[in-house]
Amino acid sequence: MTQQLTLEDLAGDAKRRNRERRVKVLFVAAGLVSIAVSILIILSLAGEAWSFISQVDLSSLWTVGWFPRRGLYDIPTLIIATTIIAGIGMLVAIPLGLGAAAYLAEYASPRARRWLKPTVEILAGIPSVVLGFWALTFISPEVVARIFSSAKPFTMMAAGLGVGVLITPLVATVSEDAMKAVPMSLREASYGLGADRAVTVRKVVFPAALSGIVASMILALSRAIGETMIVFMAAGAVGGALRTFNPLDPGQTMTAAIAALATGSDQVAGQGLTFQSLFFVGLLLFLITLALNSLSNRFVRKYREQY
């Protein structure tokens, strides 16, 4: 007599099915950790930031400078310094990064590319504390002080140049990926019309890779704004800063303000809200970089889907 195949047989071993279910629960739980981390970040920042903003004297948010232990929380001081330093960084990183990316993607022979690209990636792997040290001990005395004789040892200029060196490889690698993603057929169409390589790069490859290039710049800007160590070490003003627009002055960014308060670099007698102000600045920083990253992700998705 042949054996009848039942539904029970087809469903398989119960032990195996149970294990399958347990394993899946484990993976879902691991995935939820990231969501939990996000929620914890937002809660810890928002809680203290709220207690800061509800207790602080609002007029102290717009004064002569950022001196938290004296109760002067001039937010514009931090925003201006952050903008100046990130701006100088971008002025360095955009030409260097884009130039390196275009050369690697369009001109370099495969052999040259094999050692040029890892070299650029080495630069990307240098920790920011090293660049901070270098900005303070080399860029500041050897570069900034030689060009601007009036410059002090700690300047936003030196920090901005250091940040530029930090984010150049980021612009280079992300833009290079975008240019590599432009299909060969577009270049060939351009050559077929009689254009040479330079014209093709400028009029065909650049526009086609534009969303990726823009994404790399926004990403770099976000990194520049969130960078702590270079600014903390090279821009000085660890005890607070006056509001200034001069890049040759010391300055304190949002990140450096947090680091300075947390390490107690400004050892003036404490005042009630200094601890909370740290989280308020952190929340501000979090929201700005979150907005920039979402924008950059949107551009990246666009160039991924285009071809």
Binding site: V33, L45, G132, W134, T228, T263
Partner: protein
């Protein structure tokens, strides 16, 4: 009449000749090429100057002290100060990251790539991970600092949270690169999803995952800012001679990059002038070894489909 035609023909010939030779465009083309090369070389020269400058500054320390600079602990005396305490702290942080961030990160990646069909949860998770990857490191420091532990365990957990999104993204990419035919071979012989993942997907994705995780480890070892916020020791400290293991992991600690930072602002000139650059060299050697290992791993085990 005839002369004007001839003149027109002459003009046309000259135009054609010029167009074929394209001397104007060629000149600009060469300039463009040279400009791009110059920008790339500038980037490389910056890297070279940075490395050379730091090596020259660090040289006296290594020439005088040799290996003892690496095996000596913190000291207030520049003659005997070494980076050993920092190396131990960095290793402890790295171990916690390996134990915590890697299993959770790789599991999340498996969930995202293998289990989650395009659901609302998986899309939300994907967006969350991408956003977390862009959060400035010092914000993670604030997260860790709002708990009160000023020890190496708190530092390791904070660093794990910091690198978790990067682990997830690199592991996801490695898993996505495994072609579906490999999975289908498993399903074809009646394997369940987990069995396919364990015996088919993971072995193929492992080289990519390992490469990514080694690079992530380098990132965790080089980070400084979050440690400053959660209370790493930036000055001199020494555990008492009879300190137990528990005392050591719950007491003061420091890490290699933190030593670079704290020495660079010591009042004694030797610390900033020669000891900090020497500590940087030790840090860079550790990171280059990790990066080299990642590249070696990638070349050694690269799958070709």
């Amino acid at each position: 009449m005839t002369t004007s035609i001839t003149r027109r023909q002459e003009a046309t010939q000259a135009d054609v000749a010029k167009a074929i030779q394209r001397s104007g465009i060629q000149w600009r083309s060469t300039l463009f090429h040279a400009g791009l090369l110059l920008l790339l070389l500038t980037t490389l020269v910056i890297l070279l100057v940075l490395l050379a400058d730091i090596m020259i500054k660090a040289w006296p320390t290594f020439a005088e002290r040799g290996v003892s600079f690496v095996t000596d602990g913190l000291s207030l005396n520049p003659e005997t100060a070494g980076v050993f305490t920092g190396i131990m702290g960095s290793i402890a942080i790295a171990v916690i990251v390996i134990l915590l961030a890697f299993p959770i990160g790789v599991s999340s990646a498996i969930y995202l790539e293998e289990y989650a069909p395009d659901t609302r949860l998986s899309r939300f998770l994907d967006t969350t991970v991408r956003n977390l990857a862009g959060v400035p490191s010092i914000v993670y420091g604030l997260l860790g600092g709002s708990t009160d532990g000023k020890n190496v365990i708190a530092a390791g957990i904070t660093m794990s949270a910091l690198v978790l999104p990067i682990v997830i993204i690199t592991a996801s990419e490695a898993i996505r690169a495994v072609p579906d035919s490999i999975r289908e071979a498993g399903y074809g012989v009646g394997a369940t999803k987990w069995e396919v993942v364990r015996s088919h997907v993971m072995p193929s994705a492992l080289p990519g995952i390992l490469t990514g995780t080694v690079l992530t480890l380098a990132r965790a070892i080089g980070e400084t800012a979050p440690l400053l916020v959660i209370g790493v020791a930036t000055g001199y400290f020494a555990p008492p001679g009879d300190a137990t293991f528990v005392d050591q992991i719950t007491g003061s600690y420091t890490a290699l990059p933190v030593i670079v930072f704290s020495w660079s602002r010591q009042t004694q000139a030797e610390f900033a002038d020669t000891l900090a650059p020497a500590a940087i060299i030790v840090l860079l050697v550790v990171l280059f070894v990790l990066n080299g290992a990642a590249i070696w791993l990638r070349n050694k085990t690269e799958n070709r489909w």
